[in-house]
């Protein structure tokens, strides 16, 4: 279903009444003004008829005739627009002179002020005619004068147009007012939707109702209700995660402590081997728990607060732990840290960076060289971890970002979650992740560089 436009709907509702009003208005203006104009033109015909009547003469034989000088005839018939006709009728209605066949007044029409005006046709054209009484000696005869309706029609058109024009202007103005008025009226709604669109997915603060118009208050308050519920659910989830972390990690810490205590004692070799397995499994379980929690926290809606951060400071604060991990595996971990401001969640970004460094340390051979970099590339902040280990084959680079996927033949016991977490966290920050060969990589050890580039800002 197409979205219903409030504006189109309003216009449709308005157009019909506006159109009707337009017609009505034109009619109301037209008829009162056409009447006096018609009368004025008729008066011209009447005057012509009266003057024609004065040229009727009584003949010697008792008949009547019209003695019209040709100059007068010409004057009478001269008209810029219309053809003028006349006919003189005797006392018994017999034609005396003038244009043959010009119809007389319809018998039922009554005279007004002594004159009869009527519409008829002559020579295939509509004509307007008046019958004017005249004197034939002592008898009463009549003169009919008619003219075609060119200038009357023109006048009618002019009157119609001049009455319609203002109506049309008013109608157009109304449509424009509705068009822009609705846009203006809906402006607060548009601003509201812009504000909601501009929000980050984790921003569940209520919308300020203060600067929204009265009419949108119910909408805003309904939205705020929803936001509040979502925020509440998110807080509950966070609380659950924190509790789950606590419940899971404390016993794991106990398990790890006792395994390490036992391993510190003299043990039969086979028991030591078994216990080593338990110890490794404990550490893996702890790491997996951390990763699952990080993954859950990286889900949209569960996100913490975004803050102004510097990736350089973030990396520096974690460097101690990484260096010890690297030392334990005889790996050279170095840093090239420059100022790199981002908007983000410190916990998640730390987790992303930790996963990248952990992967590099875990999958690089002894003596490998790993470099952690932060900085700015034009207007984009980035962080990257580069190693000179075996690298990731080209076809695997997309797949390693999937959850639980591990490159076949990879040594060690990773969960395959590390890079998936990095991807989720990057996506949550609108950042892009790229996996390439290391800059100084040779074909033998191509190395690997994972870079996260953050959006402008």
């Amino acid at each position: 279903m197409a979205a219903r436009s409030l504006r189109a709907h309003l216009l449709r509702m308005l157009l019909l009444p506006i159109g009707a009003l337009l017609v009505l208005g034109a009619l109301v203006a037209y008829y009162p003004s056409i009447e006096p104009a018609t009368l004025a033109y008729d008066q011209g015909l009447i005057d012509a008829g009266i003057s024609l009547g004065t040229y009727i003469r009584t003949g010697d034989a008792g008949g009547y005739r019209l003695e019209l000088p040709s100059a007068v005839d010409q004057v009478l018939r001269r008209d810029s627009y219309d053809s003028v006709y006349y006919r003189v009728l005797g006392p018994d209605g017999e034609p005396i002179a003038g244009d043959e066949g010009l119809p007389g007044p319809p018998p039922e029409r009554e005279a007004r002020d002594g004159f009869i005006s009527y519409d008829t046709a002559y020579k295939g054209q509509k004509v307007r005619a008046v019958a004017v009484p005249a004197k034939c000696g002592d008898a009463a005869c009549s003169v009919v004068v008619a003219e075609t309706t060119v200038k009357r029609r023109r006048m009618a058109r002019d009157i119609l147009f001049s009455s319609l024009l203002p109506e049309m202007l008013i109608a157009i103005a109304t449509v424009l007012i509705v068009w822009f008025g609705v846009k203006r009226g809906l402006g607060p709604l548009a601003r509201l939707s812009d504000e909601i669109k501009a929000r980050s997915p984790g921003d569940l603060r209520p919308i300020a109702a203060a600067d929204t118009p009265e009419e949108t208050r119910p909408l805003v308050s309904a939205l705020n209700g929803l936001l509040d519920e979502v925020a509440q659910a998110s807080r509950n989830q966070q609380r659950f995660l924190a509790n789950a972390a606590h419940q899971l990690r404390t016993p794991l810490a106990g398990l790890q402590a006792h395994t390490e205590l036992a391993l510190a004692k003299p043990l039969p070799p086979e028991v030591r081997a078994e216990l080593e397995q338990v110890h490794q499994a404990t550490i893996r379980t702890a790491r997996l728990a951390n990763q699952l929690l990080a993954l859950a926290r990286a889900e949209p809606g569960a996100r913490g607060n975004a803050a102004e951060l510097n990736l350089k400071a973030l990396a520096e604060s974690e460097a101690d732990g990484w260096v010890h991990q690297a030392l334990a595996r005889d790996v050279d971990l170095g840093f090239e840290l420059d100022w790199a401001p981002v908007q983000g969640d410190a916990f998640l970004l730390r987790e992303a960076l930790a996963n990248l460094v952990h992967n590099a340390i875990e999958y690089s051979p002894r003596g490998a060289r790993i470099t952690v970099r932060t900085g700015r590339n034009g207007t984009h902040s980035f962080l990257e971890v580069e190693d000179d280990g075996p690298g990731i084959p080209l076809p695997e680079r997309e797949r390693v970002l999937e959850r639980f996927y591990r490159v076949p033949g990879t040594p060690g016991t990773g969960s395959g979650l590390g890079l998936a977490i990095v991807r989720e966290i990057a996506a949550g920050h609108g950042a892009t992740i790229s996996i390439t060969d290391a800059t100084g990589g040779s074909s033998a050890t191509r190395g690997c560089r994972v870079a996260i580039t953050f959006p402008h800002g």
């Binding site: 606590h246 398990l255 402590a257 390490e260 990080a294 170095g334 730390r350």
Partner: protein, 228 residues
């Protein structure tokens, strides 16, 4: 040294106790925050290991009360916070309230014992003028250094760099931090100069088994003394 462990998870608490007792410390354990506050008020401990997730009075409150108590004449009581929560603000809150260090559960025991040693050493340094690191001893009042009881000649700048590193054993100290700590008014020390001092220190200390590790692009780390 006398340590107090405040942890409500019995297996973890007993594991911690045995590991720290094996290090030669006297260890008391309580599972309740109220008892910890009381014990710290009545007796003298050198370090408290404090779990944040305690029942009833939680670790934050314990920490607040420990810090609100009367100032200790032996310097502030070092507190190492243990947390199972992954929310970063927990960590920040812990340090804001005056925890000296924190560890997120679970952790490797060698790391815990290293942190405990570092905290104890730091608090000892507060109290006394003598800093000891394996065979190395610095008398900060007389400004004399000894290596294996033999007097050790150190230039003023070398002394200053070594003092900074000794204050943060097993932690990376950035070159910038060293420069800030070492350079006096009007001095203009370059990172290269720091490298020179460190390499001189190395040539003097490494024969005795004291290692200063370079962290490429960042700074230096004085490793814990593990014997010559």
């Amino acid at each position: 040294m006398r340590l107090l462990i405040v942890e409500d998870d019995a297996p973890l608490a007993s594991g911690l106790r045995r590991i720290l007792e094996a290090e030669g410390h006297a260890v008391d354990v309580t599972s309740r925050g109220e008892q910890a506050v009381l014990a710290a008020a009545q007796e003298r401990f050198d370090l408290v290991i404090l779990d944040i997730g305690l029942p009833q009075m939680d670790g934050f409150e314990v920490l607040r009360r420990l810090r609100a108590g009367s100032p200790d004449k032996n310097g502030p009581l070092p507190v190492l916070v243990l947390t199972a929560r992954d929310a970063i603000d927990d960590r920040v809150r812990g340090l804001d309230l005056g925890a000296d260090d924190y560890m997120v559960k679970p952790f490797a025991m060698p790391e815990l014992t290293a942190r405990v040693r570092a905290l104890l050493r730091r608090s000892q340094a507060h109290g006394g003028p003598r800093i000891v690191h394996g065979p190395l001893a610095l008398d900060t009042v007389a400004r004399r250094a000894f290596l294996k009881s033999e007097p050790l000649e150190l230039a003023a700048r070398e002394w200053a760099v070594l003092e900074v590193l000794l204050g943060k054993v097993e932690k990376i100290v950035s070159k910038e931090a060293i420069i800030q700590a070492v350079a006096g008014w009007g001095d203009d020390l370059s990172p290269n100069a720091i490298e020179v001092y460190v390499s001189r220190l190395r040539s003097k200390l490494e024969p005795a088994g004291i290692k200063i590790r370079t962290v490429r692009g960042f700074g230096y780390m004085l490793e814990e003394y593990k014997g010559a």
